[in-house]
Amino acid sequence: MMKSLVKQGWRPALVIILLFLIWELCVQLFQVPTWLLPAPTQILEVGITEWGQYSHHVWATVQLIIVGFLIGSSIGILVAIGLHLVPFLKQSTYPLLILSQNIPVIVLAPLLVVWFGFGMLPKIIVITLVCFFPIAISLLDGFRQTDRDLMHYMQMAGASRKQLFWKLEWPNAMPSLFSGLKISATYSVMGAVISEWLGASEGIGYYMTLASSSYRTDRVFVAILIIVALSLLFFIFINWLEKIVIRWRSSGEGGSSETS
């Protein structure tokens, strides 16, 4: 995997380096003021020298992401299982679930602040809400896509509802679950940062609002960089987890979930 990454990755990497070079040159050439657009080298310098001052913000956000993601995906998984096993529940709530996806969770955030204040709770609720949907929907989809012949075999062999679920439907839905988890992983980073914008006393989102209100554009860029890195790391982690859990897929099928 590492090898193919290097093999396919060098071209986009080159483009990124080139972009940074042009950026650097333009800033130097036209003497753009730092508060408007700092050069990449300046951003890097601030990022490294001030690490001690903002690192606790990073850890606070990482904690928030992990807690939110764990709660959000657990609820997503439980809801999907519940809706799948109780057809009546699914029939009555699935359309609502799909509709509710059209509500941007961000618009609910101020309301959550009103109800729950500025503590951890409203932030976790925001992350839970953004994580929950992709997981519940893709897991339900995975359950629905269970092969009919396999189903018939299991039923004729006399499998109970419990056996059908644990021996067939659940493992069958694993790839779908992971494509949901991957979407939620990136969403949860976004959810954490936005919830911190709305009101917090620490976290990378809070650090970002502080920096922008004092025109420390270089620090804003540092924050952006860290958020991108967190998103990427989280995504890679889920990808790695998927490779561990789903070893049985032939290489031909492997690419299907990468598209999402």
């Binding site: 075999y153 039923q155 021996k167 493992p171």
Partner: protein, 247 residues
């Protein structure tokens, strides 16, 4: 007492009349084939025997007891190999036993060895060829505790040579396992080569058109396929089915 008795089954799906008063039986240890054109309702019939579908009328008796609508009484091998892609071959083969309770790994390993799949016992299904998957699927049926095995066109997706090999293999396994087998196919030659008795279904709505006792001795060899007697027998059945198809 017959091992399996299918009594006057009628089945319709909406306006489509699929099975029309179908009756036949299978004796203990017998190999019976159901021969019928595609779409005549063979898989539907298996679904009824397996308890998946409840027929509009009629009954299914196993050792004299009704199993209509009761699942888990027979062992079934579907048209496609239907192995669970996330399980190793060994775990797949044990699935039938797992569902009904007791696992016998030693027996499973022995059967895998006899099927020539030892090398693949820890492999996943996607690493196997079509023939190997069908063998694994059949072993799963034989290992299951139920005494009657239903096979639904298990070899229809295989090429000619693999199919003949698989038929010989199936016969050798059956002669040893002493189980009753109900085998579905639309291939006349396959039905004659394998069975003690052949039940011919008419096109939809399917009813039992005719029944043949296969006169050839066992164990049967591949050479049988080219003898005059075999070809004549095949011709008779073919004409029977042809006639039903045109009228």
């Amino acid at each position: 007492m017959k091992h399996l008795e299918v009594k006057q089954i009628n089945q319709t799906f909406g306006d489509v009349h699929v099975l029309n008063d179908v009756s036949f039986s299978v004796s203990e240890g017998e190999f019976v084939s159901i021969l019928g054109p595609s779409g005549s309702g063979k898989s539907t019939l298996f679904g009824i025997i397996g308890g998946l579908t409840i027929p509009n009328s009629g009954d299914v008796l196993l050792n004299g007891n009704s199993i209509k609508g009761k699942r888990g009484s027979i062992s079934y091998t579907p048209q496609t190999p239907s192995l669970l892609p996330w399980r190793s071959i060994l775990d797949n083969v044990l699935l039938g036993q797992e569902i009904s309770g007791r696992k016998d790994r030693a027996k499973a390993l022995e059967m895998i060895e006899r099927a020539g799949l030892s090398e693949y016992k820890d492999a996943h299904p996607h690493e196997l060829s079509g023939g190997m998957k069908q063998r694994a699927s059949f072993i799963r049926s034989v290992l299951s505790p139920q005494s009657l095995i239903l096979l639904d066109e298990p070899f229809s997706a295989l090429d000619e040579f693999t199919r003949t090999d698989m038929q010989k293999w199936l016969l050798s396994m059956w002669e040893e396992a002493k189980r009753s087998i109900l085998f579905v196919t639309h291939n006349i030659e396959e039905a004659i080569f394998l069975s003690d008795r052949i039940i011919i279904l008419s096109p939809r709505p399917a009813s039992v058109l005719n029944e043949y006792k296969v006169p050839f001795d066992r164990p049967r060899r591949e050479e049988l396929l080219l003898t005059d007697e075999f070809l004549q027998f095949k011709k008779d059945i073919y004409q029977d089915m042809r006639l039903a198809h045109t009228t």
